[in-house]
């Protein structure tokens, strides 16, 4: 894998790419891990897979999906397909040299074999210069899962060329309005294949994926008072055995998926509690007379961020998972809520209110440095990280009603995922176990 990166880097340095009056690439070449947006992206061509003309539609969808996945990842610059005919007619003799002539450092091609009702796709990733086949792999599935096949191929390309696992196979769960209620929905990470997964006829909010299984915890009003439900992948709903009271809300899973931290008024006041799923025992972690709510488990399992208004206005605090050693994290915010710990545990995203609207900010735990990721484009709420920590999904009413958007972890490349409004409280799945 490391070798693949070096090969691509060499190709980038040698190839004719980036020579149209652009500033020269920074000296020193590509070393170490590729992060952020300030690095040279890998130039890749993704031609439509070859195959029978009757499979043209599928071929086009695979190519388009892979291109979008690769561009979205932030690691790649997908070469404009309009240039591909130039490669074909170039005077170079080998196929890889032809691709290199339009700047491609790598080519992700494929072949579709005819299969009745099923996709039979063979993806082939080659390094253009020097010409090397990096992998050739066969993918299949029912014909209505074309995008899923393409996502899998895209993730393999990302893994091969960057050494990092991709996120194209992940999902986003969220809440959407349905009739008089608000139900749980899910969709692919790119906003496609939206489907509703609950039919309660009541309000449900804040779905959260288990880190270790395809199950969701969320809060539901389906039996009256807001309570925590767990939805299994087969559609079965179970009520979490929370502490009692008339409000049990805002669940988040421990990294091992065995405990759920949540907020409850069981003690007569809203406090953070933790439920051990195996024993069904809950214990209270906070006991201030203020509201303590919106807990988020750190990925190391040892700390919990939460919201408390013990200082007057809601602010983000961090405590040990046993409830001790409480310290304030946010400062300089009028009102802060909805903390979400990054997958690496080095940062916490949350919402900070400014001038009556929310912006999404990120605080670095070590330095305390705060960066705004949104800048007053409507109100932006409920940030949650992609499993690779390179993107965030959030809701925003920047276009009128609330819809879901994603952005890179530095706030750039904002993409709208839903249209139609009333889509809120998203959560990005962990990688498929």
């Amino acid at each position: 894998m490391r070798r693949a990166i070096l090969l691509v880097a060499a190709a980038l340095a040698a190839g004719p790419a980036g020579s149209q009056g652009e500033p020269p690439p920074p000296p020193g070449g590509v070393t170490g891990v590729i992060t952020g947006t300030g690095f040279t992206r890998i130039k890749i061509a993704v031609p439509e897979p070859e195959g029978d003309p009757t499979l043209r539609g599928i071929a086009a969808e695979i190519a388009a999906t892979v291109r979008d996945d690769l561009a979205y990842s932030g690691y790649f610059e997908v070469i404009d397909p309009a240039l591909y005919p130039l490669a074909a007619t170039s005077k170079e003799t080998t196929a890889t040299d032809k691709w290199a002539s339009i700047g491609a450092a790598a080519v992700a091609s494929g072949k579709l074999a005819p299969g009745s009702g099923r996709i039979d796709f063979r993806g082939k990733l080659v390094n253009a210069s020097p010409a090397t086949t990096l992998f050739e792999r066969r993918y299949g599935g029912p014909s209505d899962l074309v995008r899923r096949v393409a996502h899998q191929y895209a993730d393999d390309i990302v893994q091969q060329l960057t050494g990092q696992p991709g996120i194209a196979m992940t999902w986003i769960a969220f809440v959407g309005k349905h009739g008089k209620g608000k139900e749980i929905y899910m969709m692919d990470y790119d906003g496609q294949r939206v489907r509703r997964i609950t039919s309660t006829g009541s309000i449900n909010l804040m779905p959260t994926w288990s880190p270790v299984a395809q199950r969701l915890a969320y809060m539901s009003w389906r039996t009256g008072a807001p309570s925590i439900d767990v939805l299994e992948s087969d559609g079965k709903i179970t009520r979490a055995q929370t502490a009692g009271g008339t409000m049990n809300i805002s669940p988040d899973w421990s990294p091992d998926g065995r405990r759920i931290v949540y907020a409850s008024n069981a003690s007569g006041n809203c406090d953070v509690h933790i439920l051990d799923l195996a024993s069904g025992r809950s214990s209270r972690l906070t006991s201030s007379p203020a509201i303590d709510a919106s807990p988020s488990f750190a990925p190391n399992g040892r700390e919990i961020a939460f919201t408390s208004d013990r200082s007057g206005s809601p602010q983000i605090y961090v405590m040990d998972a046993e409830g001790l050693n409480v310290r304030r994290l946010s400062s300089g915010d009028d009102y802060a809520d909805a903390a979400a710990w990054s997958p690496k545990g080095d940062r916490v995203a949350y919402v900070s209110r400014r001038g009556g609207r929310f912006d999404i900010v990120v605080i670095e735990i070590q330095s305390g440095a705060v960066t705004s990721l949104t800048h007053g484009e409507g109100s932006n709420e409920n940030p949650r990280w992609s499993p690779d920590g390179r993107h965030l999904v959030f809701s925003s009413n920047r276009a009128g009603a609330y819809d879901l958007y994603t952005m890179r972890a530095d706030g750039t490349d904002v993409r709208r995922l839903t249209r139609g409004g009333d889509c809120i409280t998203p959560d990005w799945s962990h990688r498929t176990p």
Partner: protein, 189 residues
């Protein structure tokens, strides 16, 4: 046309289609069906002048009013015998106006002790979604405690927070927000 545009258009088309059945666009009903200024105050005030001599009613104090229970509860809720109270921004304290209203509510609740009464705590959209559920609970609980302190049976009062999920007014200005920061009552069998 770039490849990204292609995908994007597809995204829009498919997304819009699916969401049309799923996340329906916001119904812009700006009516406020349950505000406190409903028709309650018009009926009983204009009878003083005629002052008829009391006529003996046949069948005095007949007890027929407990028969159609279900519809009568709906009627009670619709008529607004229990009035909504409102809160200041990001606040759960009960001001004097609210106290006066709640004293009336408490009297009714005590004289109709058979009913369970749900107190729904609500918030305006300016708070965050998560925190607002906790704030709505504070409002509902504060109202419940006050009613109990006036003698209402706390065992028949259920405080439920709805956060900002059930606005009385779907507008986005202070007029709407003021109507949404509320505790409202639902009489149950």
């Amino acid at each position: 046309m770039s490849n990204r545009t292609c995908v994007w258009l597809a995204t829009v088309a498919i997304g819009a289609g699916l969401l049309a059945s799923g996340c329906s666009s916001k119904a812009k009903t700006t009516t406020t069906p349950e505000t406190a200024t409903a028709p309650v105050e018009t009926a009983p005030t204009t009878t003083a002048e005629t002052a008829p001599t009391p006529v003996a009613e046949p069948f005095p104090k007949t007890q027929v009013d407990k028969a159609p229970v279900e519809s009568s509860i709906d009627d009670l809720n619709r008529s607004g015998v229990l009035k909504t109270v409102y809160f200041a921004y990001n606040n759960d304290s009960i001001d004097d106006t609210a106290k006066t209203i709640l004293q009336g509510n408490a009297a009714w609740i005590q004289s109709h002790a058979k009913y369970t009464v749900e107190i729904g705590g609500h918030c305006d959209e300016r708070g965050s979604i998560g925190y607002n559920v906790a704030l709505g609970d504070r409002r509902a609980t504060a109202v419940k405690s006050y009613l109990a302190s006036l003698g209402a049976n706390a065992g028949k009062l259920v405080a439920i927070s709805y956060g900002e999920e059930k606005p009385a007014d779907t507008g986005h200005d202070e007029t709407a927000w003021a109507k949404n920061r509320r505790a409202e009552f639902l009489i149950k069998p």
